[in-house]
């Protein structure tokens, strides 16, 4: 494929089709799900029609250039003065019209397909026992990362209403909240309800379906589906300010079994580093007053540092969910870190969290904590994560702690990631 | 050769600059602030200072223009036309009522300084208008030897400013007065007053339409009375204050947070008019 590219460069129009490269993770012409395939099946023939029309026009032009070209005008050398020909003109009104009508018909059909949803029932084990889940995820865009919220109780979704104000800032509590990576079961139609807490973003996983904007104040329906397990890349495509280019995400498609496993893990509270449980207990009971902290391990110290520095914005279920009172952000939220280490990327899907060999990529995480603005231009503290001026030791401790917020993702997933 | 035009404008410029300095100081500025345009140290009230200084600059520029381009310079003109002597200038023919306005303006300004900012602004505006008109009159009256030409000259400069100003002033007086009356009386009273005022205007016009030869003095007198009535009503309205508006549930909170903005909102329509 790669070799094909040079000749293609000579005729960029041809390269149009050939342009799909092996490493093009966002390639729109390499569908991996039902809907993206439908779109591809519609557009490929249209591309061909377009090529034909273009070559017709170009061909006619070149033909006339070859046939009728003169270098100088000679006195009296005048062609027949044709002022028009109605039959021709009717012809080239009608034929394009017919072509467009055909394209329009197929477009119409596909549009109604893409906008229809079907009710599915996927059995899911939750804490309350098995529920039948119609796969559905609420997607919330925010400068500059994505949040995914899972509600296994369909009634909760009824509470989403787009009447007044921006409801995305005040969503009902979800069973699972994650950031940057949308985890979904394969083979199922996964409905998305897309909204935003601040400006307009656009959610796009090219391999699985087209995009849909996340508009504040609106809940836009969309759906995706993946045929095979894997990691599918995405990118926010509506201009959303400073770090629009660094607002990415991935869809992680798992087999139903793996998905169940993931759900089970996510439903649990975060694990507290061994030896720190007592401190945490005391801290929560003390309601803000000083409690002597454990100093033994990095993770223990990290927990303390986290509680002091980070908990005002980041929620870790089971640790600070009692004291967390919303982020100091315009949008009112920061990524939920409860099972942070179970993702393979961080910071809006732009940094790998693991090395290819499966170890934690401390480098990335540390540099993020050292100065997020250097990695992702932002407008902190109102928008984006601020530089908190942490000491190197604290950063080390925090990384130790964050690593405990597992479980670790599977090796295949780690191998599939590699975003930078 | 310094022409009268130059002298008039330059005089005004000096006066305005001086006034701006004084104003900059007395309104609470410190040290050399007003001298350095606020660069080294403060100026009291920026708005007034700015207007005065700006006026000075404009007058100065006009004066400089006149002298450098030898506009309205009778001698230069005479020279240009190859004549030996310039024709004599002409004394002003009309009595000028601008000194009166200027005096009124000055008084209002002083009173305004003490009493209310609005009055102060009104005073400043009056002074400015008087100064400008007066200066132009004075200049135009002596620009050439021909009174007709002088009048034409004056009109050329002044009409583009006078006409819109007068237009605005006319609307402004009525709008402000009428709305103050409406605000002072009860809601139903406002309806009534509106009906009465509009009917008076309308039927007065109808009457005049049918009886065009009513004595001029009578008409003028009645019109004057009407105007005084409206104005008086307005002043009464201001004095009486607005009636109690019945606030919505959260009215209080809203009106507080919305204070500045709503004013600006209204300011908008005013600007549009300007």
């Amino acid at each position: 494929m790669r070799r094909l590219r040079l000749p293609a460069a000579l005729l960029s129009v041809v390269a149009f089709v050939a342009g799909c490269a092996d490493d093009a993770e966002l390639d729109t012409l390499k569908p991996e799900g039902e809907y993206s395939e439908q779109i591809d099946n519609l557009i490929d023939p249209i591309f061909i029609v377009a090529f034909l029309v273009f070559f017709l026009i170009l061909g006619l032009t070149l033909f006339m250039w070859a046939k009728y070209r003169v270098t100088e005008y000679e006195e009296g050398d005048w062609p027949e003065q044709v002022h028009g020909k109605t039959s021709w003109e009717i012809g080239w009104t009608f034929i394009p019209f017919a072509i467009m009508a055909a394209i329009g018909a197929f477009t119409w059909i596909l549009l109604s397909d893409l906008n229809a949803t079907e009710a599915n029932a996927l059995p899911i084990q939750t804490a309350e026992g098995e529920v039948m889940w119609d796969p559905h995820v609420v997607v919330v865009g925010q400068q500059w990362w994505w949040e995914y919220r899972y509600y296994f109780d369909a009634d909760k979704l009824e509470e989403l209403d787009d009447a007044n104000g921006n409801p995305a800032k005040d969503l009902p509590p979800a069973d699972i909240v994650t950031a940057g990576q949308l985890v979904m079961p394969i083979g199922e139609e996964v409905e998305l309800t897309i909204t935003s807490r601040d400006v307009i973003h656009s959610h796009w996983i090219p391999a699985l379906n087209g995009k849909r904007d996340a508009v504040p104040g609106r809940f836009s329906p969309w759906k995706i589906q993946a045929n095979d397990p894997g990691l599918y890349f995405g990118q926010c495509t509506e201009f959303c300010g400073l770090s629009h280019s660094r607002m990415r995400m991935q869809a992680v498609a798992l087999t139903p079994e793996d998905f169940q496993e993931w759900v089970t893990a996510q439903l649990a509270d975060a694990e507290t580093p061994p030896g720190a449980e007592a401190w945490l207990e005391a801290y929560r009971a003390a309601d803000g007053s000083e409690v002597e902290a454990p100093e033994a391990t990095g993770a223990q110290r990290g927990l303390v540092a986290f509680t002091q520095n980070c908990a005002s914005c980041h929620l870790v279920q089971g640790v600070n969910d009692l004291t967390y009172d919303g982020a100091t952000q315009v949008s009112g939220a920061a990524p939920n870190l409860t099972h942070f280490a179970s993702r393979t990327t961080l910071a809006g899907g732009i940094l790998d969290l693991y090395n290819p060999d499966g170890t934690l990529n401390r480098n990335n995480l540390e540099s993020w904590l050292r100065n997020p603005e250097a990695i992702k231009a932002n407008a902190a503290p109102e928008r984006g994560m601020p530089n908190l001026g942490l000491s190197e030791e604290t950063i080390d401790d925090l990384v130790d702690y964050l690593e405990t917020l597992g479980p670790r993702p599977s090796d295949e997933m780690i191998a599939a990631t590699q975003v930078d | 050769m310094l022409t009268t035009g130059f002298k008039t404008f330059f005089g005004w410029a000096l006066l305005a600059v001086f006034a701006s300095l004084v104003y900059g100081w007395v309104s609470g500025g410190g040290g050399v602030g007003p001298l350095s345009l606020g660069w080294k140290g403060g100026v009291g009230d920026h708005a007034g200072y700015g207007i005065l200084l700006w006026g000075g600059v404009i007058f100065g520029a006009l004066g400089a223009l006149l002298v450098s381009f030898r506009d309205a310079d009778a001698e230069a003109a005479a020279h240009h036309r190859g004549m030996n002597s310039a024709p004599a200038g002409q004394r002003p023919l009309d009595a000028s009522y601008w000194p009166l306005v200027a005096a009124l303006g000055a008084a209002t300004t002083v009173v305004g300084l003490v009493v209310s900012q609005i009055l102060f602004v009104v005073g400043i505006v009056l002074c400015g208008a008087a100064a400008f008109e007066w200066a132009t009159y004075a200049w135009a009256d002596m620009a050439t030897g021909d009174p007709d030409a002088n009048r034409e000259l004056r009109n050329r400069i002044m009409l583009p400013m006078e006409v819109p100003m007068l237009g605005f002033a006319a609307i402004g007086v009525i709008v402000v007065s009428v709305s103050r009356i409406f605000l002072a009386v009860s809601a139903n009273g406002a309806v009534l007053v509106a009906i009465v005022v509009a009917s008076l205007i309308f039927f007065g016009a109808v009457l005049l339409n049918f009886k065009p030869d009513l004595p001029k003095n009578l008409v003028a007198g009645v019109a004057m009375l009407g105007l005084v009535g409206v104005l008086g009503g307005g002043i009464w309205g201001i004095a009486a204050g607005e009636r109690d508006f019945h606030h919505g549930e959260e009215g209080e909170e809203h009106s507080e947070e919305g204070e500045g903005h709503s004013d600006e909102g209204e300011g908008h329509s005013d600007e549009g008019e300007g």
Binding site: A15, I57, H83, E89, I200 | I157
Partner: protein, 687 residues
């Protein structure tokens, strides 16, 4: 300000005045004369105004082009840090805004101003002073917009929301710099210019036509420009509303686009695109008109299907109003709206296709002379088609969900705008240059210009199709390795520099040709053996356009005065262009006098703009300028009274030939001719 407009000195009776004494004294008199910079600044001559539109637009083109180059440098390689994210966002926004509002639109306006009166045989536009007003309002508005780059720091305060500037990202909370205030107010100002000129040109087209010039004898270019003006007339107020809402939101905390108060951010998108889509046809139709003039001349055939050309233009103008939501396919509109707008968008391909095929049919069987103007025109036919076809692929809404906001869109609109509008405008430059300046542009340089531009253009924007389909988002300040974007971005960046070279050669060509022309015989009124009325007068066009009114009997009137067609279809020459064309030597034609007021009025607007952003007192100053400007205008006689006294030489560029041409003078004395001229010119000054 006409402070001392001829204050007559009281002279003793009987004194004879020397000639020069009639000249008013002092510079503050009403502007007069036709030399020097002042003659440009205060002119109300539609030709000078047209030329100034062109020159200013080229200046902005340089700015917009440099911004484009900055974009391309930044994107040439992955992870580049030539521009910070902050700067990049401002650069692409100003690039888009500059190119659309300050380059293509005014370039079209340049042709509209210069050519409409000439093509319909008029002496000037309906309201010459209003015409000057629109120029200056637009230009000052443009400067105001561009000043945002400098004011408050280099690239600190420029608009950064993208050219369509979606809500609520354009709010103060998300864009705290003053940039978007500049955007809102700047576009508002330029909008006033467009609106005024639309009104003016519409009245001109409808009401100033020469005798016999019925609507369906107007040249296709005039028709397309007329349609464009109607689009402007109705589209500008829509964005005016949107911009007011935005301005009030930003400056006075209104709630039009504030989702936290339950407002709908899509309101902005609707309003913007209701304006925005007609706007893209505003960009392209003038170019369609231009090549409809060029292709027949260099094919030696009349335009194929004149009426169909006109009607398809009208159809495009109409349909352009019903498709705006194709820019919102993924915004969550609801399936019914999406389907409806998808269908309506596809339909536009039909009238546009008709045009393409008619141009081809015009060339079919003709005698094609591929000089530079023709090359550019044919370039439009093929390059625009590429852009149009990719447009059709966006119109397929499901496919657009994959394409929108990727470089595939960037490719589409650069193909239609650069490959359609801009190439067409270059064709126009080469074609009408001799009419405006009296010399032809050099063909050798011209061909270099064309080929570099077309090659560079395809090199730049062709690969963007691939990039887009490979998933590269637009408006990203940088991209990572590993997505397959590296190669094509580099190619595109190289291409951009080739374009730059191409345009540079155009600029060089102007100077080269001007020097060469000194050694060449004058081009004469009709250098191309052309067809329209504009060629029926001397080159460069004399200030009064035509010596006498032309009576029109058919489309391509000028051509039919030169040629006759036999019954068997052969063409015979009956006269040469030089014989038919008017010498352009008439003197004493009474023309509208220049005026300061349009400039004074226009100058007030940026002050109001700065005032709204920085300090309301500036608004007072601006408001005074506007008020004084407009009322000064009202009280200024449209005609310069001096002209009646014969003191002024108002009649065009015959300074070198002060002696009145006896024939022309005689023509003036002749009752009918003189009356026509007088009435014509009486009418013009009304503006």
């Amino acid at each position: 300000m006409a402070i001392t407009e001829e204050p007559p000195l009281e002279l003793e009776a009987g004194d004879p005045l020397p000639e020069y004494a009639e000249q008013p004294l002092g510079v503050l008199t009403r502007p007069s004369g036709n030399t020097g910079i002042a003659s440009w600044l205060f002119t109300v001559d539609h030709k000078r105004i047209g030329i100034m539109y062109g020159v200013f637009a080229m200046f902005f083109f340089l700015i917009g082009g440099l911004e484009a180059l900055a974009i391309r440098i930044q994107l040439a390689v992955p992870g580049n840090d030539f521009l910070s994210a902050e700067t990049y966002n401002q650069v692409f926004t100003t690039h888009g805004v500059t190119m659309i509002f300050l380059v293509i639109m005014p370039l079209a306006a340049a042709f509209a101003n210069y050519l409409i009166p000439l093509q319909i045989g008029a002496r000037d536009v309906a309201f010459p002073r209003m015409n000057a007003l629109s120029l200056w309002v637009w230009f000052f508005g443009g400067l105001f917009l561009c000043s945002s780059v400098i004011i408050g720091g280099w690239w600190e305060n420029a608009p950064d929301g993208g050219w369509f500037n979606y809500a609520p990202n354009h709010g103060v909370a998300f864009s705290p710099s003053k940039g978007i205030d500049f955007y809102a107010i700047g576009l508002q100002i330029t909008g006033i210019g467009s609106l005024v000129s639309a009104v003016n040109l519409i009245v001109t087209c409808l009401n100033m036509r020469a005798k016999g010039m019925t609507l369906f004898r107007m040249p296709v270019l005039t028709w397309m420009l007329l349609i464009t003006q109607f689009l402007l007339l109705f589209a500008v107020p829509v964005i005016t509303v949107a911009l007011f809402f935005l301005m009030f939101d930003r400056l006075y905390d209104a709630n039009f686009f504030n989702p936290d108060a339950g407002s709908d951010p899509l309101l902005w998108q609707h309003l913007f695109w209701i304006f925005g889509h007609p706007e893209v046809y505003i960009l392209i139709l003038p170019s369609f008109g231009i090549i409809s003039e060029v292709i027949p001349v260099f094919s030696r055939k009349p335009i194929f299907g004149y009426k169909v050309m006109v009607f398809s233009g009208i159809a495009i103008g109409f349909m352009g109003w019903g498709v705006w939501a194709h820019h919102m396919f993924v915004s969550g509109l609801g399936p019914i709206s999406v389907t409806a707008f998808s269908m309506s968008t596809m339909l536009i391909a039909v009238p546009t296709g008709v045009k393409i095929f008619n141009w081809l049919a015009t060339m079919l069987g003709g005698r094609l002379k591929f000089n530079t103007a023709m090359l550019f025109a044919v370039g439009v036919v093929s390059m625009f088609t590429i852009g149009g076809l990719s447009g059709v692929t966006h119109a397929v809404a499901p496919a657009d969900t994959q394409q929108t906001d990727t470089y595939y869109i960037v490719a589409h609109f650069h193909y239609v705008i650069f490959g359609g509008a801009l190439l067409g405008i270059f064709a126009g430059f080469y074609f009408w240059w001799p009419k405006a300046f009296g010399y032809k542009l050099n063909e050798r340089w011209g061909k270099w210009n064309f080929w570099l531009q077309i090659v560079g253009f395809n090199l730049t924007f062709g690969p963007m199709h691939i990039l887009g389909l490979q998933g590269m988002s637009r408006r990203i300040d940088t991209y990572s390795e590993g997505f397959g974007f590296e190669l094509w971005n580099l190619v595109a960046s190289v291409g951009a520099f080739v374009i730059f070279l191409g345009v540079l050669i155009f600029v060089i060509n102007i100077f080269v040709s001007q020097r060469q022309a000194k050694h060449l015989p004058p081009v004469g009124p009709d250098p191309w053996d052309a067809r329209g009325l504009e060629w029926m007068t001397a080159s460069p066009t004399p200030e009064h356009n035509f010596d006498e009114e032309i009576e029109v009997q058919q489309v391509d009137e000028f051509w039919f005065r030169k040629y006759d067609i036999d019954d068997d279809g052969t063409v015979h020459r009956i006269a040469t262009g030089d014989e038919v064309a008017q010498p352009g030597t008439a003197t004493g034609v009474h023309l509208p006098a220049p005026s300061y007021w349009p400039m004074v009025l226009a100058a007030g607007l940026p002050f109001i703009g700065y005032g709204l952003i920085y300090n309301l007192w500036l608004c007072v100053l601006g408001g005074l300028l506007v008020a004084a400007g407009s009322f000064g205008w009202v009280f200024e006689p449209a005609d310069d009274p001096d002209a009646h006294h014969g003191g002024h030489d108002d009649h065009g560029d015959h300074d070198d030939d002060p002696d009145t041409d006896p024939e022309a003078a005689a023509a003036l004395d002749a009752p009918e001719g003189a009356d026509d001229v007088a009435i014509e010119s009486e009418e013009a000054p009304v503006g």
